[in-house]
């Protein structure tokens, strides 16, 4: 009799502990702010915080959806795009992990592989110009490395650097434009063919001056970032 009672108590304890663990696990996964406190809470990217580097293929929003009744299911296309993005993010992260693990990572090849996955996501893996598109990535990498060396050797100043980069990116956009039709280009870049991709990068004279000023301030004042924190301070934030 006593043994049966003990067994029952043990089962009850295990069930209770499991429920509490499940509660903690849910709190730690993905978005933690309540929907009412942030407009973005319902737009998580599918990052899984508890598993570290690998993104979960089921974003927080989808996990929430799984708990809703079938008749309240959201439109299917939203689920598919989120899952595809999560898979894309996971595969890109995997490429980086593999490259880092090797010890000597080929940055040029890695960039070509990463952007190749982006082409696959946006244009489909069977696009007839896939290889040519990837070749543009490699060409652009080489061109920018040559431009970078002119700056780091002090042959050119930052304003000239930005001018050369603006010209380069305009040419890069043209090369992609020759390989993609108008719809494909807009699908890939989110902008019209003919627009210089560098327009999104703020490579202006004013930004060049600001960065020069920042570097000068580093030499005299340290950094402009928040003051360094002690390990004790960080630990107190984490265990709060």
């Amino acid at each position: 009799m006593k043994k049966a009672m003990r067994t029952r108590l043990a089962f009850l304890g295990v069930a209770l502990a499991t429920a509490v663990i499940a509660l903690f696990a849910t709190r730690g996964r993905g978005s933690v702010n309540t929907p009412s406190s942030s407009p973005s809470a319902a737009s998580g990217d599918g990052e899984d915080l508890n598993t570290g580097r690998r993104a979960s293929l089921a974003p927080p929003r989808l996990l929430a959806m799984a708990a809703t009744p079938p008749d309240a299911a959201p439109p299917r296309e939203i689920e598919e795009s989120d899952v595809r993005m999560a898979e894309f993010q996971s595969r890109v992260t995997g490429l980086i992990d593999d490259c880092t693990r090797k010890g000597s990572c080929d940055s040029r090849q890695l960039l070509m592989d990463q952007v190749g996955l982006a082409f696959d996501l946006k244009l489909g893996p069977d696009h007839p110009m896939r290889k040519e598109l990837q070749d543009v990535v490699g060409w652009s990498f080489d061109q920018r490395e040559a431009i970078s060396k002119r700056f780091t050797s002090k042959e050119i100043d930052r304003k000239k650097l930005f001018g050369l980069l603006n010209e380069h990116f305009a040419e890069m956009g043209n090369r992609y434009g020759q390989l993609l039709d108008d719809v494909e280009y807009e699908t890939m870049f989110g902008s019209k063919k003919g627009r210089n991709p560098a327009e999104y990068f703020s490579l202006t004279d004013q930004v060049a001056e600001n960065l020069d000023r920042h570097e000068a301030s580093l030499a005299s004042n340290g950094t402009l970032e928040p003051p360094p924190e002690s390990e004790e301070h960080a630990e107190s934030l984490i265990s709060r």
């Binding site: 730690g28 990068f201 580093l218």
Partner: protein
């Protein structure tokens, strides 16, 4: 013997519970701040730790560079260790570290999107969805998610820098 096994199981579960509880208190969030430049729009991005109290933004727009007031790109996400905080700070540094802005040439290595992604990925393992950032795919195609030499230089250096607390 059965009761002994049950006790051990419950001890393990209890330990898991305390670990799970301790893992829930430091947060990070990526923000975007829209600008009208040239003939169109672009998104400047930055990231913050701990509910916006420690923000990291490249100083490309001078001392008025937005590091608050932006729109969250995704929900607030939680890291779980000092190691992750250390990595986030090291990788998003605007100082002279291997990952810092001084050694990561703006326009060559990446732009603010890559800078933000480096901070974000350190806390929860991945980058912002480029669909949610104006110019996000242009910068991804040019620089990748974290910058051109991130995997070769910044990732190993910052991991070594933060290894003492792992």
């Amino acid at each position: 013997m059965h009761a002994y096994k049950t006790r051990i199981m419950m001890m393990v579960l209890g330990l898991s519970m305390s670990l799970a509880g301790a893992a829930n208190a430091t947060s990070t969030q990526a923000y975007k701040f829209g600008f009208d430049f040239f003939s169109g729009e672009l998104d400047h991005t930055y990231f913050c730790l701990d509910a916006g109290t420690a923000c990291y933004s490249l100083p490309i727009y001078g001392f008025s560079t937005p590091r608050s007031g932006g729109t969250p790109v995704a929900g607030t996400l939680v890291g779980k260790s000092y190691h992750q905080r250390c990595l986030a700070r090291a990788r998003a540094s605007t100082g002279a570290s291997v990952c810092g802005a001084a050694n990561n040439l703006y326009g060559i290595e990446g732009v603010c999107h890559q800078h933000t992604n480096k901070g974000q990925m350190s806390m929860h393992g991945t980058f912002m969805n480029p669909d949610r950032i104006t110019g996000g795919w242009s910068s991804f195609v040019a620089y990748g998610p974290y910058g051109v030499t991130y995997a070769a230089t910044c990732a190993p250096a910052s991991t070594a820098q933060c290894a003492f607390s792992w």
